[in-house]
Each structure stands twice: as C-alpha cells, then as structure tokens.
Amino acid sequence: MKIEIAYTLISIFLFLSGLFGVIIRKNLITLLVSTELMLNGVNLGLVSMDKMVGGVEGQVFALFVLTVAAAEVAVGLGLVVAIFRLRGYESSSEITQLRD
C-alpha cells in the first residue's frame, strides 16, 4: 500500500471518530476534544493530499486550521469554565434548560 493512501485512511478514521464523539458523548470537555479530533483528521488529510497532488497549498491550509482551531478551543474552554461556575461539575452534562 502506498504511504499516502495509508495516511488518508488514518485521516478518515480520525474524522469519523471525532464525528461519533460529537454525536454520542455527553461530557463537555469530551465534546470539545471530539471537534478538535475532527479538525486534526482534516489536517492529516490536507497534508497527505499535498503529497499526492504535489503542491504546497494543502500544508498552508493545515497551518491555518491549526491556528484557528486553537482560538476556537480557547473560547470553548472559557465557556466550559463559565458553565461549571454556574452549575457545578456534576450537573454540567445535562445542559437542557432550553428546549421546545
């Protein structure tokens, strides 16, 4: 098997495990980690596609994804801290005050 194909498969696996994490998990931190896992799958895919296509744009994109994901997770952790302060750690996974 060519090495690019193997990396692409790993990237798809990372992306899908992040997706299932977002859908199934309840814990707030795990949810955040799952979204980051998806973005890392995207990064790996971009870089391995670069190897396949023979360009550099994908690696530039991957750098931007890394930077912006850091900003997003900082906001997410800030929100988690705010939620923990208002509700306490134990009941934080049941955030269902808003519903129909």
Binding site: L19, L46, V53, F61, E72, G76, L79, I83, L86
Partner: protein
C-alpha cells in the same frame, strides 16, 4: 537569473480592500480603548464604531463600481460583494442605536461587544468577496468565533452559556465538515479556488460531488438548515436580543454568501444532484420551521424558528441554479435581513419593561400601552408572513416564479403550504396585539434614535415592496455577472 524574476510578487492593490481595512482598524481602536480605559464609556465606543463604519460605508458607496482581484486572486471585489457589504454595514450601524439602552437595562454588553462586532463584520465582508476556500475558511471562523463569544455575553444567565456552547460544538462540527469538503475538492482539481474547481472537467466527478456535499453541509449547519438546526433556536434565545438580531441579519447574509457564489458555477453534469439535494433540504427546512414555530410560547424562540423557515425559502431559490433564481435569492436575502432584524430589535426594546418575558401573553393589547411599537412589530410580522404591500409578498412571489421557471413544481407547492402554515403564528401575534383589550403593565419607551431606526426599517420594508426597481436595478446585473464567471 535575476532575483526579481525568481520571486514574482506584486504589491496587492489595497484600494479594493479599503472598506475592510477601515473596519479592521476600527476594531483595533476599540480593542485598544477597551485596554486603556478600565471602564470603557459606551457612548465613546458607539461613536468610534459609528464613525468607522460610516467611513467604510461612504467609501463603498462612492466607489461602488470598483472591480478587480487582489491578494493574488484570494480576494475578489465585484458588484455582488459591494452590494452585500453595503447592507451588512448599514444594518450594523442601525444595530448600534439599540445597544446603549439595552446595556443600561440588562448590564450584559461589555467593551468586548464592540470590537467583536467589528471583527465579525470584517469576517462577513471578506466572506462575501472570496472564491478561495482558504479565505472562506478563515472568514467563516472569524464570524463564528465572534458569534460564540457574543452569544455568551449575558452575565450570570445560564441559558446564554448553554446556547453558546451548543453553537460552539455544532459550529466546530460544521467547520470540520466544510474543510473536509475542501480536502475532496483539492484532490479533484488540485486547487482551492472555487472557480477553478467547478470549471475543472475530469471524467470522474465523484470527488467533486463528495466535496461539494461536505462543503455545503458544513455551511448548512452554520445557516441552520433543518437536519442540523439544533443549535439555532437555543443560541438565538439565549443570546442578548440585539445580538440575536445581528446574527439573524448580518450573520445570515455572511453565511449565505459562499453558497450564492457556488450556485452559478453548478455544471450541467451534476445539475440534477444539486437540485435534488438542495431542494429536499429546502422543503424539510421551511416545513419543519413553520410547523414548530406554531407551538412556541416564547416569541423570541418563535422568531428563531421563523428565521429557520426563511432559510428554507432562500434554499428553495438556491436549488434553481439559473440567473432568475439567483436574482430572487439575493433580493430575498437582503429583504429578509431587514425584516428579521426589525422583529428582534422590537423585542430588544420591549424587554426593557419590567418583568417582560417575551411570552405570548405579554403582547396582549400592546396597541393600547405602546401603539408605536405595536405598529412597527405588526409591519415586521406582516412582512415576514408576506402580505402584499410589504416586501415579504414580493420576495416570496419572486422565489415562486423562479421555481416555476425551473419546473420545480414540488418545491413550489410545498412552499405555498409552508407559507399557509406560517399564517397561524404571525397573525395570532398581530391579533393579540390589536384585538385584545386587557391593558398590560407599563412599557419602556424607545429613545429617539431607536424610534428613527425602527421607522426607517419599517418604511424601507414598504418601499422595497412597492418600488422593487430601486434594488432590482443593482441585483439584476450582479447575478448575470456571477453567471458569466
């Protein structure tokens, strides 16, 4: 070989980018002011933002014919981007008239509000004027991350944090899907430029379709299309009301802009897939949005569902991938941004009266206690419903005409059903305000600025409905230009 030939870098034409630069500098100035002063005076922050946005707006209006590309093809300025940017900046200026009083009453908007507003406006402006997936990604994140923080700005209120967290998780999912779509498009054409990708003709189109589906589903989550809408009512209800107004108008224009850039580039070979996928999403969206809005007791949440339904109507126009569909969609998007914003801003003013909870009962006999607000809200609601003198009728008729032209009868008929259902909740609210006799508690008076902005928006809803040519003369060449790309 000369070094100059080796590195062929030209200086970007900054003249095309001046409005964005002004908004960016305004954001930095507000940021520095917030750092320097411990308690930033809101009047100062509002005046600085209004001056900055007005300068950007004036530059845009006086150089409306500015065309061209800069930053090595990353950034495109054409009439589409100028038109959308004019509306975004205007609506942001109008919004600022409402923040001061809201902040005084709720103690919820801090100094961060002002610079986050300008950063998200900048993101929206860039989003309206790029074909490059890299720039679209960055602008999308600039808008979204600002929105997450803005949603959570209500102090000590748990619903605000909850809405923001749901928005953050689903927004992260959306951005991951969209960028995985970018990966597939990159495999297909070896480029991130959407024009290049969609005009590229390879025998095997599976990667193109896969990539487009991922990219559009990512954007669909941001817009709030129905299978992925869960965050939208929660975030809209939890956010401070002026910010809800902002998200439902400027945010909607910004997130729809890349979709409208993709739509004219749809090729003959996957036209049917496009119609089927987008048309189905549109039908599910407006039917679900209208039916669920019927049972809401909370008016803010009801307007959030009506916003979902209107996304559905816009998508119905998008599914007709021809010039008529695009004209109707641009008109709809711009007109909806005014209606949606007006609806939420009325709530933002009414919330200032004591123990007001946005419930349906609170609106009983509003005409007697606050006639002005009742009339403005009635115009906004009738326009959202689509009663003839207002613009709401015109835009729905335009979408229906373009659906008929594209022979998409199933979408058109279901759309009429959706509009019929929506009569239930819009008219109920109007009846409550005008027919009920019971006098409610004292209502907060709007200030002069607020009155003026609301009158301006309500009148523009009527004028755009009676004299559509005012806007149509700009939209029509724009959409034909997009189809020549």
């Amino acid at each position: 070989m000369e070094l100059k030939d080796l590195i062929q870098i030209e200086i970007p034409k900054l003249a095309l980018f001046v409005p964005e630069l002004i908004v960016l500098i305004t954001g930095f100035v507000l940021f520095s002011l917030d750092l320097i002063y411990k308690r930033l005076s809101h009047t100062l922050a509002i005046s600085v933002s209004v001056i900055g946005y007005t300068l950007a707006l004036l530059y845009l209006v006086f150089n409306f014919d500015l065309r061209g590309e800069t930053f090595y093809g990353l950034y495109v300025r054409d009439s589409f981007s100028s038109l959308l940017q004019v509306f975004m900046i205007l609506l942001t200026i109008i919004l600022l008239a409402f923040t001061l009083q809201y902040q005084r009453f709720k103690r919820s908007l801090y100094g961060e509000f002002y610079y986050l507003l300008s950063f998200s406006l900048l993101g929206g402006m860039v989003l309206a004027s790029s074909y490059n997936l890299l720039l679209i990604y960055i602008a999308l994140e600039a808008v979204s991350v600002s929105f997450y923080i803005l949603t959570a700005l209500q102090r000590g209120d748990f619903t605000s944090k909850e809405g923001a967290f749901k928005y953050l998780i689903l927004g992260g999912l959306a951005i991951a899907l969209a960028s995985y779509g970018a990966v597939f498009l990159y495999i297909y054409a070896g480029s991130f430029d959407l024009r290049h990708v969609l005009h590229f003709n390879a025998p095997d189109k599976s990667f193109l379709i896969l990539g487009l589906v991922f990219f559009l589903f990512g954007l669909a989550i941001k817009i709030g299309v129905v299978p992925f809408h869960f965050w939208l009512p929660d975030a809209y209800q939890g956010a401070p009301t002026p910010i809800t107004a902002y998200m439902s108008s400027v945010g909607k224009i910004a997130f729809f802009a890349p979709v409208l850039r993709v739509m004219p580039l749809v090729q003959e070979s996957f036209h049917n897939t496009w119609v089927l996928v987008v048309g189905t999403l549109a039908v599910i969206t407006f039917l679900y949005g209208n039916f669920v809005a019927l049972v809401q007791k909370d008016v803010k949440r009801m307007l959030a569902y009506s916003s979902i339904a209107h996304s559905g109507y816009i998508l119905a126009g998008v599914s007709v991938a021809n010039a008529i569909g695009l004209k109707a969609v641009i008109y709809f998007l711009l007109a909806y941004s005014i209606m949606g914003m007006l609806g939420f801003l009325v709530l933002a003013v009414l919330e200032r009266s004591g123990n007001w909870e946005n419930k349906l009962e609170d609106f009983d006999g509003l005409k007697h206690s606050q006639g002005f607000m009742a009339w403005v809200f009635a115009i906004a609601l009738l326009s959202l419903l689509g009663i003839p003198p207002t613009v709401g009728f015109l835009i729905k008729a335009l979408i229906f005409m373009s659906l008929a032209y594209g022979k998409l009868w199933w979408v058109g008929i279901l759309m009429i059903v959706g509009v019929g259902v929506s009569t239930g909740y819009y008219l109920r609210l109007v009846v409550l305000m005008f027919m009920k006799e019971r006098e409610r508690r004292a209502i907060a008076n709007p200030t002069g600025f607020e009155r003026a902005s609301m009158v301006l928006m309500a009148v523009s809803l009527l004028i755009l409905g009676i004299l559509p040519m005012l806007l149509w003369n700009y939209i029509s060449p724009t959409s034909e230009m997009l189809f020549r790309r």
